[in-house]
């Protein structure tokens, strides 16, 4: 059960960071107030830090940090794919033939 917490936090953290970026929001058709934009970034970073704490608490300092780094890449990769998918669903011409 604990094994899912770190990847979920990383995923949520990168989602926050992605929504905090103006260029990404434009591509996926999301509008946010500038205060909300900053909030997304702060929450995103906080979730990533929290994920590190959970991973280290669960697996220990060494293996926990390795797992956290791996889950960071996993979370970022999933958000990356999600952004591409969302962008293509909004404008099919963005999709490669």
């Amino acid at each position: 059960m604990m094994g899912w917490v770190t990847p979920s936090l990383c995923l949520a953290g990168f989602l926050g960071l992605a929504l905090g970026g103006r260029r990404v929001r434009r591509r996926i058709g999301v509008t946010l107030a500038s205060r909300a934009e900053l909030g997304c970034r702060v929450v995103g970073v906080a979730l990533l830090v929290l994920a590190a704490g959970v991973a280290i608490g669960h697996r220990g300092g060494g293996v926990g940090l390795v797992a956290w780094c791996g889950h960071l890449s996993l979370g970022a990769g999933l958000v990356y794919l999600g952004v591409i998918r969302r962008e293509r669903s909004l404008s099919p011409e963005a999709a490669p033939p």
Partner: protein, 521 residues
Amino acid sequence: MARTAEPRRGPGLRRAMGGVHAWSGLIAAWLVFAIFLTGTVSFFKDTLSLWMQPELPRATSPLEAPELVARWVALLEARAPEAASWTISLPSEREPVSTALWRGAEGIERLAVDPEDMSPVTARATRGGDFFYRFHFQLHYLPVIAARWLVGAAAMLMLIALISGVILHKKILRDFFTFRGGKGPRSWLDAHNAFSVLGLPFHLMITYTGLVTLMTLYMPWGLEAAFPEPETRRQAVSELHDFPRVGRAAGVAAPLVEVAGLVADAERDWGRGGVARVRIEHAGDAAARVILWRAPGGRLNDQGPRRVFDGVTGRRQDTGEAPGADALTHGVMVGLHAGRFADWSLRWLYAGLGLAGCGMIATGLVLWTAKRRLKPRPPGGLAWVERLNVAILAGLPVAMAAYLWANRLLPVGLPGRADWEVHAVFLVWLAMLVHASLRPVARAWREQLWLGSLLLALVPPLNALTTEHGPLASLLDGDGQRLGVDLSCWALAALLAAIARRLPASRLATHRRARKKAIAS
């Protein structure tokens, strides 16, 4: 008033790094791709070896470690009493059989037994996953030391390419989630950046620690200065690699201590299954020694604690203290690289990031050619770079799939069978090179990717036809390891098919597509 002309600035750091990145990447990329791909498979080398030896039993209730070791000692005392040492590997989740190694009259001898009843196990001759593991740092058909130097040079160029790539990528965070599809070189650049940045900590770690694992070969001078005598230097290297050298026999007979008791004591401290290996040196001699190695599970340090005992009295000979900072650093570096500490979820993360590394190298190579293809006068030799790209990026997966086919199709009794499995890999790879040289590049890409996909997709049915461990049987038997190999073959087949589907059938089709887009916009 005429504005004074500003002095022209020389090429900036980023521009300089652009050249370093492109050329260090290009020179090393083909070899590094092969190293990354075979290294990624090596994270599952024991699982692959199990799949490639369908005769091996799946021990569900092995004997307790002390009992197993006691039986091994009795067996080896009868079978190899003259051997200087016996090394016994205890079964684990990844390795279901128990094996012993010793140096006999005909070189290194090996015996594998079923850990449930100590019955000998005979499996088909194969190098299994160990072939990919060895290939990723010492290649094949080449002198070992020369090959390791070659791999080290490629890894160093890769490290330079990674660092220069970070300096080059000025908007690393701003462009983090950017992908512009269907835009030629721009799309390849975005894909290259994505694969690079997403796995950057892993790419840096795996490249640097890979160099560290062979540091005594690449930078021997410190060791030579500290240990001028060859014998003490060899001893130091053995200690660094956690494999102490076997001492000399005293030539005086003395009974061997009860090794099972030592194993039982160690398991009380390290937990059940905590002992991975046992080495007994000069059994029956006054200079006998027993060494127990702890299983690496859950610890980064690959060179985990070991206990050394006098083989006659059973007295501890090691101090029991933690290793020094140098040994600890080296052990953690090797542990990080090999990932032996990782449970199944972390191993899959390692494998996924290894594949991301392959993606980074592959997209970098394609980007290099795509950018130059657009120039009015493409540089000479570009066609050969493109053909080599096909033969290595698409041809290697085909050759690796052929290894699994050879394992199932070559007769079990064929002399030199294990070698022929490996020859099959290189013969198929050579065929892919010839194919890439003869066919139009765009078609060669698609044909080799489709071939790789087809070969991998048919591995599980072939497995079901030739063994009793097909995917369905493994599923019903609860054999997750063998089932995992079959499912991975299907997943990789789907990946290759997806890439092949996205590639244009010919260069003409690419131009037509670009023109259609231009008209539409």
